[in-house]
Amino acid sequence: MPEQDVDTRVKLAIYEITAETGRVPNSSAVSRKIDINESEVVAAFGRLHAKRLLLPEPDDPRRIRMAPPFSGIATAFPVEANGTNYFANCVWDAYGIAAALHCDAISRASDGHTGEPLTLEVKNGQPVLKPYVAHFAVPAAHWWDNLIFT
């Protein structure tokens, strides 16, 4: 197997830890997992951000706010999959967790206006279709301008 570059090792470690625990790791946890200096991990976070693969916390480059589809903080889109609890960044990412993990999942979300509970579910690898809709407030060209709002 060819040797992986630092960014790939860091990326895989982020997702492996997240998939296993439901929590997006910080640079310290990634450093321990792949046994490289934490400063190298933080630098890799920055490069992965430039590639639009993750979003570090704006005020702390050692922590990850988003490793899409996973959220580093609690959100209105909790997802249960493989017996583990995750948080997605948005409704797209709620399905994205099932797609990334290749497993069935359930997200107990809610209507963005009324707060009515709405459940998204993936069973046998397919979405359980309901007449719900997702509203995209930001044009595709500007999704990364303010990803937290998007």
Partner: protein, 74 residues
């Protein structure tokens, strides 16, 4: 990106927050977007789709026009 029971609650939300009504995506389309974007996210070769790939994915799902053009300034 928020979830709504219906177009009616979307309109109520847009009015309440003075946000322009934008395109709506149904759950079948949303699932396909998730599969295209994240299906290989845990693998070595994972990456975000390139701009042209995004256009192709959106178009295959019937999502066309300036809103879905990642190179548009709209």
């Amino acid at each position: 990106m928020l979830l709504f029971r219906s177009e009616e609650t979307v309109d109520m939300w847009c009015a309440a927050y003075n946000i322009p009504r934008r395109p709506l995506v149904n759950l079948a389309q949303l699932w396909q977007l998730a599969v295209h974007w994240y299906g290989n996210r845990l693998t070595v070769e994972s990456r975000r789709p390139a701009l042209d790939e995004m256009v192709s994915i959106f178009s295959s799902l019937g999502l066309t026009g300036p809103f879905w053009d990642p190179k548009s300034d709209q």
